[in-house]
Symmetry: C2
Subunit: 390 residues, 2 copies
């Protein structure tokens, strides 16, 4: 069955197509006056025919597709899905739809997926790091998008990912890591392991380098044996943890690069008949919802946070299990701009002092000191989206 078109409505209501357009778009309120009688006639015709504007034609005509592309790595990490869910919800609030793409590092056509997405005339793009962006072709695609002045926001903590000059939302776990390490070293831990399970080279450097520096400041040797590099899946961290636990002088504490992998580590510890926190301490990052339901609890929030439940049960050797909440507050915020009306000012839930209103807030967060000129209003909104869930 063919859908009714604007022309059908116009015919039925006995008006022109333009009038129909005015009425359905409610332009009548401001500029173009439409008599109430005509308005009602049009509305009646719309209802009778079940007319809905064709968003394809709208997109073609208006230039805007009301669509934001979202690219996430397809790894099984709830953290990314939380991001996706958050982005979708926020986008929906401002009338945008999400065009979802996942990119698996394995799939050979990942570049094409990326390229395809860019051809769909999306109004904006949010992406999460993946090594695919380092490829020639991906770089070119990104450059194309930038040339079109499409707002792009990366949710990534690592500058080496992309050479291009795009806005980013950066979570920095450095301070949190320093805090953990100080604590552990105070508790006389001397063998601290690090499960470095990454999908992208250099990802999570913030945690690893802070780990190294802490040891060095304490005049302790950074034992390469204790840094277990592995892949990004639970199985990877499970195996890596098993390896660490088999060392002659096994670690008494373990930092794991994110909560998902911490789950794998927990399982490995249990399979070795060790207990957390009695025999070994365990730390994760992200505070995924699951964390507090693990046994033992991979609990939540920052070390110094008042509601850090775990820290109340400290023993000399162990700090129980802690999952560091997403370190949004420690992200480097270059410039504070008070919320501009109309551009999606919103509070980051849980951090009432931090609001997002303008692209400049996070522009070049970690790179240069002056924000690049970027005036597309959607950029602010997209950064808001990205930040709201980062």
């Amino acid at each position: 069955m063919k859908l009714p078109t604007q022309a059908d409505v116009a015919r039925l209501a006995g008006v022109s197509r333009a009038t129909v357009s005015y009425v359905v778009n409610d332009q009548a309120g401001g500029q173009i006056p439409i008599s109430e009688e005509t308005r009602q006639r049009v509305l009646a015709a719309v209802a009778e025919l079940g007319y809905v504007p064709d968003s394809r034609a709208q997109a073609l005509r208006s230039g805007s597709t009301k669509t934001i592309g979202l690219i996430i790595p397809d790894i099984q990490n709830p953290h990314f899905w939380e991001m996706a869910a958050g982005v979708e919800q926020e986008a929906s609030k401002i009338g945008y739809h999400i065009l979802l793409s996942s990119i698996s590092p394995k799939s050979r056509d990942a570049e094409d997926v990326f390229e395809n997405l860019s051809y769909r005339r999306i109004d904006g793009l949010i992406m999460v790091p993946s090594f695919i962006y380092q490829s020639q072709k991906a770089q070119k695609t990104l450059a194309d998008l930038l040339r079109q002045r499409i707002p792009i926001v990366g949710m990534m903590s690592n500058l080496s990912q992309i050479n291009l000059d795009i806005d980013r939302v950066v979570s920095d776990y450095r301070d949190a890591t320093l805090e953990i390490m100080t604590h552990l070293l105070d508790l006389q831990h001397r063998r601290i392991g690090f499960i470095y399970g990454i999908a992208v080279p250099n990802l999570g450097e913030d945690r690893l380098s802070a780990y190294r520096e802490s040891l060095q400041s304490a005049n302790l040797r950074v034992d390469p044996e204790l840094i277990a590099s592995c892949g990004p899946t639970m199985e990877d961290s499970y195996q890596a943890t098993l390896r660490l636990l088999q060392l002659p002088d096994r670690p008494t504490a373990l930092l794991v690069i994110n909560d998902l992998l911490a789950v794998g580590a927990l399982r490995a510890i249990s399979d070795r008949n060790l207990r957390v926190p009695h025999d070994i301490s365990l730390f994760g990052y992200d505070d995924i919802p699951l964390a507090q339901y693990m046994v033992p609890r991979l609990s939540t929030t920052r070390l110094t946070s008042p509601n850090c439940r775990a820290s109340s049960a400290l023993s000399l050797r162990s700090l129980s299990t802690i999952s560091i909440a997403t370190a949004l507050p420690t992200a480097r915020v270059r410039r504070w701009v008070p919320p501009a009306p109309g551009i999606m000012p919103r509070l980051i839930s849980g951090w009432p002092n931090l609001a997002v209103s303008d692209a400049t807030i996070m522009s070049h967060a970690m790179a240069s000191s002056q924000p690049p000129p970027r005036h597309h209003p959607l950029t602010a909104a997209i950064i808001g989206l990205a930040m709201a869930v980062s």
Copy 2:
């Protein structure tokens, strides 16, 4: 910067717009012959200008947006994420994009989200149950979509969700549940609890009714106290499990409606200082990836499956923890149609004997015996998508 258009390419190459269209669409192979020389000139112009066809215009002209809508409930259940990831991957393989929408039962504008999605001239729709579909407005939207002959596939096990006549992919946990119950009753379990945590009324009836029937067949009373209805979050099942464990005559085994909630239950059991499987048996459904990393393992696969690790460690009172894998093989398949070439025949991974090739396979899976007339080729593909991850 304005993007180059077909006309720009035509001008640069010194040909007409039609020729450009032929070349970029590779129609030359079949019908319309283009001289190799012209072809190269056009291609060169395309490359020089960085021309890409405008998918908005393509959509308007061709009628197809190459887009499939996906609606999932926004609850924090990895099971749905897995679905979304699977759908996205499969869609991408056949050149489709996913327009993602999540619908939270709480949000008041959920209906609008649904409606919005339907206006975007999507080529198909995949949706997961949510009570929102029961509303008047949602029903109307669905009816509109059906009137447009848009292929719609529901991934839902419950017929009462929607009164409309749409294709569904049905997972039926009934047999699996009967199997578990038989086993537990054989092991002399007499107090078996059921954590019925649902987001939608009547969801998961298959499990609950099989649970009831099993008890009745064994001449046991169905104790309403042992059926804990609650919400769909881990916290809900955590609380519900605590309640069950406080009963004077507490259950010795627990069925939980899905793995996510089983995690919450596991935590509650641990908080009551009980151990699985020594003190209580625990069962979940879905086999989410996380399941096998839980301590103790919420292990995997069907009871009778050869690789059911847990069943080898049976004790009298307990069957360890078992997560029933998605019950695809027990879904009611009305009619088997051998794979039709070109319509995305594919094997369901892990179940080599079950392939998806035609809408008729799952049509009216649980309702009537004759499939409805539904000839849109995309339906088959979409059912394939949906089934591949259900």
